[in-house]
């Protein structure tokens, strides 16, 4: 048993007062959870402390909250670990010492109803419904079950693990800046259907999510949702898969998302290192030397970048020919070697090895004997092909 101080951000709408902090002293084994600590405080000190919970085993997804600023589940975070983090954070800012308060707040990016209970409906569920979270099958459903290759479902097992707790939404840094961002939970859910071989509307789904200014290209790639998710869904990775699939089926979005990606890839293929001016130009006006096709938004973006460029020239930051003129950037001495790598990797029409399979030796040895390539392409069963 050990003593802990939990500092809870409280809010009671009926009081007419704003939110405030309250500390509770609790006494429990370090291996027990932060939720156990909260329930003890509720039991012994203040029955009005509101927290949503049910299974206490990281299955129901009810007890999403922020613990020392990190979004996660109260029931899956050991109070001893939370104490270590609180002390580490205090030491970083010179406060130091042990036994610092463990700070507990309601989830972010959503309204608070009372204490740690947030309104999941207005943000989380509304966004989930936005992505049509059900199967849109080909034609009439079969009389009995759908028959699919088990391997063709591997690609979506990660997104299927979601328990709808909202921890990723709470942690999302794009949503902090743009409340309309569809967000990590809903986009991971979208990939669950985009990657499903039974779904007939893959192209329409991808077009919808790529065209929306608050869709897949509004994700700022900050990894917050990956660390927040208690079930290993890695929502950001699912968003990157949506982008990759959108590119593969040739969707040209109005947000320059696909153009930016292709411009980046082509520049590295040609030069080896990044030509920033060319990236800017090609992201907004791809193929300017060939067919000129910037849309209105792209022209606005290009013009909008001029003041920044002028400031860069003034300070000397961008005062050299290869930074000012797109395409003048020198290529690497061994650029042919880089090109060989591109030619080889682009040959594979299928993706493989997207998932970390575990530590060396656990799963890999078997593959060495059989050959090496494995596919996650839904049309290709997960059999071994020769490399």
């Amino acid at each position: 048993m050990a003593d802990y101080t939990i500092k809870v951000r409280r809010f009671q709408p009926e009081s007419g007062e704003g939110p405030y902090w309250e500390e509770f002293n609790v006494d429990l084994d370090p291996s027990l959870s932060v939720l156990d600590g909260l329930l003890q405080a509720k039991d012994r000190e203040d029955g009005s402390l509101a927290v949503r919970c049910s299974c206490r085993a990281a299955i129901c997804g009810s007890c999403g909250m922020k613990i020392n600023g990190q979004s996660g589940l109260g029931c899956k975070t050991q109070i001893g670990e939370a104490q270590e983090l609180a002390d580490k954070q205090a030491s970083a800012t010179g406060k130091g010492g042990e036994g610092n308060s463990i700070v507990i707040e309601p989830m972010g990016n959503m309204p608070v109803i009372k204490d740690l209970v947030t309104d999941m409906e207005s943000t989380h569920w509304t966004k989930i419904r936005r992505v049509t979270p059900w199967l849109l099958p080909h034609g009439e459903p079969p009389e009995r079950e759908y028959i699919v290759e088990p391997e063709s479902m591997i690609d979506i097992t990660q997104s299927m693990a979601c328990i709808q707790c909202g921890a990723c939404v709470s942690s999302c840094l794009s949503m902090e800046a743009d409340h309309e961002f569809i967000g990590p939970a809903a986009l991971a859910k979208a990939y669950r259907f985009v990657g499903d071989p039974r779904d007939a509307e893959t192209h329409e789904r991808l077009h919808d999510l790529a065209d929306d200014p608050h869709g897949i290209y509004d994700c700022t790639h900050c990894f917050s949702c990956i660390d927040a998710c208690p079930k290993g869904v890695a929502p950001m990775d699912q968003i990157m898969r949506l982008r990759r699939k959108a590119g593969e089926v040739g969707i040209e979005d109005p947000n320059s998302g696909h153009d930016h990606e292709i411009a980046f890839v082509k520049i590295i293929e040609k030069k080896g290192t990044l030509d920033e001016s060319l990236l800017l130009q090609e992201s907004f006006a791809p193929g300017i030397k060939g067919k000129l096709k910037p849309n209105k938004r792209a022209i606005r973006e290009m013009l909008g970048s001029i003041p920044t460029a002028i400031r860069g020239i003034k300070t000397g930051k961008m005062r050299s020919l290869h930074k000012l003129i797109p395409g003048v950037h020198p290529k690497l001495p061994d650029q042919d070697d880089v090109k060989t790598i591109f030619a080889h990797a682009e040959e594979h029409s299928e993706e493989f090895n997207l998932y970390i399979k575990g530590e060396e030796g656990e799963l890999a040895e078997d593959d060495v004997e059989k050959g090496i390539e494995r596919s996650t392409d839904p049309d290709t069963p997960q059999e071994v092909k020769n490399g």
């Binding site: 902090e176 800046a177 990894f223 990044l274 880089v338 990797a345 993706e351 040895e365 090496i372």
Partner: protein
């Protein structure tokens, strides 16, 4: 005294592009610290997550090539960019987890006389920040300080790629990696400013696709740091620097307030404490003026 630092050095693209002051100041600081940097001038872009988004195997092979070039020197590798750190760590994790996949990638590299070997001679790839704290040591750093940053209030800004995901970035073995900037600021004699944005996103990855989302993030963090009393920010990531410094006037328009906060690259902050002049560190190349920082330090003789 511990061994001197000698590493294969990957400067990245942006440090030689729109933030040339970073590459220059790193060279000066290495000289002051007595570090030997063997520059990987044949190495390629890390892909910054964008190439991985396009084709994972391509990103893995490109970075395996960089690791192999570093291993040819017989040294571990250093980068000066959070984004390089994150993008390269992602590929390294995938390569290290699967010997068959590694063999497949090495087959492509073998034509170039290259091969990436897991853990070869204890091979690591570390950002300057990690190397400074873990290999050089804060005590040795303190001994080198000739101009303590006394009274300078510095807000740390890490960059996402160097703090998340924890499991990939070695936080199991080095749990304090997300408080190293604070430790370095203190070791240099400065004062850490606590504000909301230190480990948040600068917004740079979506500057071309979602400009307002991007600049709102940069502007919010710079504003929060100003409100918390910061004299400047410090970052180990040049991409963060682009959004926090180069785009700062544009970010100010989006968040609708005056900004004007100096943003230093990590080697610049270290360099100031080691007695290097602001001009030599390229601080005049910044968009947000660094004059206030220089004035505060001029009271302390170098």
């Amino acid at each position: 005294m511990a061994e001197n630092i000698k590493v294969a050095y990957w400067p990245g693209c942006v440090s030689r592009g729109f933030t040339p002051e970073l590459h220059g100041s790193m060279a000066l600081v290495a000289e002051k610290l007595g570090w030997e940097l063997v520059e990987l001038d044949r190495a390629n872009c890390c892909g910054a997550g964008v190439i991985a988004e396009h084709n994972q195997e391509l990103a893995d092979t490109l970075n395996a090539r960089t690791f192999a070039l570093a291993q040819q020197t017989g040294l571990s590798m250093m980068n000066i960019c959070s984004t390089c750190q994150g993008a390269q760590s992602e590929c390294q994790q995938r390569l290290d987890a699967d010997s068959a996949y590694r063999a497949h990638i090495n087959e492509v590299l073998s034509g170039q006389g290259l091969s990436y070997e897991k853990d070869k001679g204890g091979f690591t790839n570390k950002n300057f920040l990690w190397l400074l704290v873990e290999d050089y040591g804060l005590d040795r750093l303190k001994e080198q300080v000739v101009r303590p940053l006394s009274g300078l209030r510095v807000g740390p800004f890490y960059g996402c790629y160097i703090v998340r995901p924890k499991e990939r970035l070695g936080y199991g073995k080095h749990p304090d990696r997300d408080v190293y900037l604070e430790k370095v600021i203190e070791a240099l004699g400065g004062q850490v400013v606590e504000y909301d944005g230190a480990r948040k996103c600068c917004g740079f990855p979506v500057i071309a696709m979602a400009r307002e989302t991007s600049l709102r993030q940069a502007g919010t963090h710079v504003g929060d740091a100003i409100d918390a009393g910061a004299d400047c920010l410090v970052t180990p990531c040049p991409l963060c620097h682009l959004n926090l410094d180069m785009q700062q006037p544009e970010a100010a328009k989006v968040v609708n307030r005056d900004l004007g906060l100096a943003v230093l690259h990590l080697p610049q902050l270290v360099g100031l404490a080691l007695g290097v002049e602001p001009k030599e560190l390229g601080m005049a190349k910044h968009i947000a003026s660094t004059r206030w920082v220089e004035e505060r330090l001029s009271a302390v003789a170098a």
